[in-house]
Amino acid sequence: MAVEIPKLNYTGSIRSVSLGGSDNTVTVGGETCFPFYTFEGAMPNHPRIAMEVYDERPVDWPEAAVFPFADVLDDPVAWAGKCVEVYGAEMICLQLESTDPNGSNRSSEEAARVVQKVAAAVDVPLIVWGTANHDKDTEVLRVVAETTQNRRLVLGPVEEGDYKKISAAAMAYGHTVIASSPIDINLAKQLNILMGNLGVNPGNMIMDPTVSAIGYGIEYAYSVMERIRMAALTQQDDKLQFPLICNIARETWKSKEAKVSETEDPRLGDPSRRGITLEAMSATILLLAGADILIMRHPEAIKLIKELISDLSI
């Protein structure tokens, strides 16, 4: 009995996008098959992980997340350095939490100075993530784009409400942009079209579908990403053929389940390993849906995901 396994015929491919400056680039995308379906297509660039750094001391992080960074939490430059030197980070994502008008509301100039310093301290590709406040991000990311030149930053999130000015600044100084839309394939496509019309070079753009953690709606992200990948690969929808980035760590570590202590409910087990599992498992599920870049926090979770990616790729 000869069983013949059905193969899919992929007619499209994901764009390859390289991030970072000329001496230290990371290339993502390029897939010609569904995630890890290498039995019928290629995944020339395996998914990559960017390690998170915050520009102000985080509040309310569970012990497990604080521990690896306890000595650098007040100093984004040292923090980024530690990620690269101690944990071997291939990319850094600087979360500009301090600029949040609902929080410390630091000025764009202050934020831009931190970006400059971090950019000077590490040579891996640098992602700079705003607060999704349209007015503030417009201000902040424009100053950042201008003050840190020749570094090919990756700037986001760029949303329908602020894409014009941020994209223009990014284009002027050669940065890459993250087109971000709220868990909806049509909104994602529409934004990509708008940004294309504005003149953003498709080779300088990646997509953020907006993701959430296990227990907080990950299934929506999963299905939207699967649909985006299907449209891109089997329906040649070139407006959706971009690498996907998932800002997942913050979503997992802020959840209730990452914080409950073992004494509160012994059945939930060791909180530190639980937090790591929540982060890594959320990342795993997003990888299966098509994530090309994961923004992650805990070194143990990152180690696990790197191993998983390599197990799935070799």
């Binding site: 013949e4 890890f36 609902n102 227990g215 999963y222 209730k256 599992t277 197990d311």
Partner: protein
Amino acid sequence: MALSGIEIFKYLPKTNCGKCGVPTCLAFAMSLAAGKAELAACPFVSAESKGKLEEASAPPIRPISIATGGKPLKIGGETVLYRHEKRFENPPGLAVVISDTMSDIEIGRRLKSLEEYVFNRVGATLRPELVVLKYQSGNPETYAALARRARTESDAGIILQCEDVDGCLAAAEACAERKPVLCAVTAANFDLVAPIAIDMALPVVARSNDFDGLAELTDRLVKLGVRDIILDSGARNLKQALADQVAIRRLALMKKFRLLGYPAIAFPCEMTDDPLKEALIASVMVAKYAGIIVLSDFKGETLFPLMVARMNLYADPQRPQTTAEGIYEINGPDENSPVAVTCNFSLTYFIVSGEIENTRVPAHLLIKDTEGLSVMTAWAAGKFGADNIAGFIKKSGIAAKVKHRKIIIPGYIAMESGGLEEELPGWEIMVGPREAAHLLSYLKTNWKS
């Protein structure tokens, strides 16, 4: 898979006699395909055609029930490759390995863990369902004793991981009423083990390292009358296991290949020694099609995330999960604590209640029934506007629980605040932030009871 009208038509007498209540055989076939008629309405279909029709209309992946001490565990019965196409039907059963060489205490702990790890979340019960009993002692009596314990000390479904006929027989008899799954029938032991499944009417796992061999095994089993089959392609590394799961699902759904139209079992416990990595592999198998997932042990820190992930991926994309309407007390509120209102989409409820918990500010959270729609979706659908929110607040009984008269509404429905003040005389409507994550800073600056 449902047959089309044309496919059904081939099996009908084509005499257009009209006895079935519609004028032509073709019309009857169409009604059948649409699920509007019963085959029995045609008195002239031959027994042979009836058999063929039943076989052809059987689901592409056979649904299988595994007996437990309570509700049977249903696996298989899947109809799609991607959950957004319809939904994933039956969440995979989670199993823990217990060896008959483990100490009494360890066996007891593992059996008890089945009932210990039962969680409630969004009105759903999360729990593991199965034990895999491993025959390592080489002594059929020892193995049978373990099977007996599993039956009496737990309500789990039982899988006998044993390829030896004496072990299988002894253990199967010791827990016969639980209808254990025999794992596994292989080409090597077929003649010895398959008869046990036939005699005792037990489900089996069929294992072969290649699909040709696997199809041959299921073919032989079906011919002997064994229909409750679970597939094991023998893959014990993640990459191969993923490829095999995809191949099996595709063969069943895209090619309607009956011989592999069964749920498949996965063994993350045999793919790594690291418990965290094992949990991640298990989550891959949840997303990618396994019907049963075998773990080396249950630990809350990994089992809980896995069970929530399983619930999420098996949630029906066409029917949002909901939370019951009512007043939820968070962080132990009193009559001076803030009151906030939101919709009953369980995702919204989880996010908002989680954020309020994070603020550590005691509060009353009012959940209005919006038929599971999120804030803006419910608003756009006319289920979360001034009039119906006001009606809900009046009947909720919150007025008797607090001394103040202030309600915080989600920032996204700020436009309803004027209308609400009109509908709720005496109440002050406070427009909260758009994102629940900003509640803390909002309460800090705006809340004075």
